[in-house]
């Protein structure tokens, strides 16, 4: 139903609104189809929870402004990832300048957050625990490695796609990913060790 409407040919009688109407449907479609991953990756790339709304809005504002740029590209998703990456990075830089404690606080908090997981069904608990672990691990990475790790391991982009998104050479992407993975394994090791101490 919706699809059919979206594809309805442009009616010139709409005059001025015509071009916008097309654009409108395209943008609304993009929003509906990709909001989830935009939101998700904005979080994963390190947008503080409190600023998420603003950052995601900004991402879509940029996407809206640049939609002409998009034409001819093969993947909306990669294009959007690029915008997400840039907006989040700009946001974090600004944050680091104005409120360094937010970003640094992230890093310091690291694995201490894992400890108290509250109660609940076992599955829920472990899911939540896993989420906390991932969050604090990501916060412990520097922004470059974080981006590559998120895009590769969580978002399942390929290395060439990541290179395009972050604007870095392929080799750099591979090397950042390698390092991030090592850190990830180490973090898991530390987590296990702590777990073992807590539940003998």
């Amino acid at each position: 139903m919706r699809q059919r409407w979206l594809r309805r040919p442009h009616d010139p009688a709409q005059g001025l609104a015509g071009g916008r109407a097309r654009r409108r449907t395209w943008f609304a479609k993009v929003y509906d189809a990709h909001f989830t991953f935009v939101w998700r990756s904005a979080r994963r790339l390190g947008t503080p929870e409190a600023n998420l709304d603003d950052v995601v809005q900004e991402i879509f504002m940029v996407a809206f402004r640049r939609q002409d740029e998009f034409e001819g590209r093969s993947s909306v998703k990669t294009w959007l990832y690029g915008i997400v990456f840039n907006v989040v990075r700009a946001h974090r830089r600004e944050l680091a300048q104005k409120h360094p404690e937010v970003i640094d606080g992230d890093r310091r908090a690291d694995s201490d957050r894992l400890i108290d997981s509250g109660e609940g069904p076992q599955e829920h608990l472990s899911k939540r625990e896993a989420a906390r672990f991932i969050d604090s691990f990501l916060d412990s990475l520097d922004d470059d490695r974080r981006a590559v790790f998120v895009l590769a391991e969580l978002e399942q982009l390929t290395a060439p796609e990541i290179a395009a998104v972050v604007g870095a050479p392929l080799n750099t992407v591979y090397s950042r990913l390698r390092l991030a993975r090592v850190e990830f394994s180490d973090a898991i090791g530390r987590h296990r060790a702590r777990d073992a101490r807590r539940t003998p």
Partner: protein, 326 residues
């Protein structure tokens, strides 16, 4: 290209949806974007059906901070979205007509307005969104609300049906064209109880009104306010009531019942000064004023709108409005 050990993969799989947005997040951001981008974003055309229910569930579960607000925002998302679609159509039609009208028509303000220019100016600056005057003559709605508006209000669940601009645009344009040749107030006025004083917070500061706007006297609020056109704002609270007022207002405006439209939009302004649909209301209100020939007020309202929502694409027509009569 994942190359992690099993523990790592398990962890990631477990946390897979941990960062996903809720439906509430989706709708809230959507509403915010629709406001910022105006109709051009077309965010009115998504499917937000069922989100309200989800919001309620989440609220019930205590899953959301400021639960009431979130619920409202969600519903607002859907409704704003719908409204924006309608608004674009109306804005297109009315905006053009109004722009032309403005270039030609001098404000049909009573002479008294000129003598009290400063006073009027201050008054408007303090509450530019507002115009419902005491002792306003009233336009009686002669037409039933439905016939000219095939879809905009009816469906609550399938928004797609709401917005096909095509069927709506043509009658609207035709009607506007007709209306430009005719006196702006289409319904016979009748006295009625004055609407209550307006509490809309001033969107702009007094000093904010530009000289260009201030130079011309603003017509004192004259028309609008009809029981039929102004359903009790309390009959539906929250976003539903809000949306109904604005939707009906837009519909009235599109069908040529400008005074009725203004009355509805003013009712909205009183009941929901900072409502989810405040942006749409303010835009339509300026257009309604223009349609009524209350050019000076329309210009001030348009200017206030543009200051308040500089990024809104609803503003395109209002620019014309604000500039035309200078």
């Amino acid at each position: 290209m994942s190359d992690l050990d099993e523990a790592g993969r398990t962890l990631i799989a477990l946390a897979d949806d941990a960062h996903d947005p809720t439906d509430i997040d989706r709708a809230r951001v959507r509403a915010a974007l629709a406001r910022r981008l105006g109709a051009a974003a077309g965010l009115g055309f998504g499917t937000v059906a069922g989100v309200g229910a989800t919001a309620k569930a989440a609220v019930g579960a205590g899953g959301v901070a400021s639960a009431g607000g979130a619920g409202a925002a969600v519903a607002g998302g859907a409704l704003t979205a719908k409204l924006v679609g309608v608004a674009l159509v109306v804005t297109t039609a009315v905006g053009f007509g109004a722009g032309v009208k403005f270039a030609r028509r001098s404000p049909d303000a009573p002479a008294a307005a000129k003598s009290s220019e400063v006073h009027a100016h201050r008054k408007v600056a303090a509450a530019p969104v507002v115009a419902a005057p005491p002792a306003a003559p009233v336009a009686v709605a002669l037409e039933p609300p439905a016939p000219l508006a095939p879809a905009p209000v009816r469906e609550q669940s399938t928004i797609e049906e709401v917005s096909p601009a095509k069927p709506i645009v043509r009658p609207a344009v035709r009607h506007e064209a007709r209306r430009n040749e005719a006196p702006p107030i289409e319904a016979p006025p009748a006295p009625t109880t004055p609407p209550p004083a307006i509490e809309t917070p001033a969107p702009i500061e007094a000093g904010d009104v530009t000289g260009a706007v201030a130079r011309r006297p603003s017509a004192p609020p004259t028309a609008a306010g009809d029981p039929a056109c102004a359903p009790a704002p309390a009959s539906q609270s929250g976003v539903a009531g809000e949306a109904r007022l604005v939707t009906e207002g837009v519909r009235a405006l599109r069908s040529g019942r400008s005074a009725c439209a203004l009355s509805l939009l003013d009712t909205h302004a009183r009941a929901f000064p900072e409502g989810v649909l405040a942006e749409e209301r303010d835009a339509e209100r300026a257009l309604a004023l223009a349609a009524l020939g209350r050019t000076a007020e329309a210009r001030i309202a348009a200017a206030a709108f543009l200051r308040r929502y500089p990024a809104s694409l609803l503003g395109a027509r209002l620019h014309r409005l604000a500039d035309a009569a200078r």
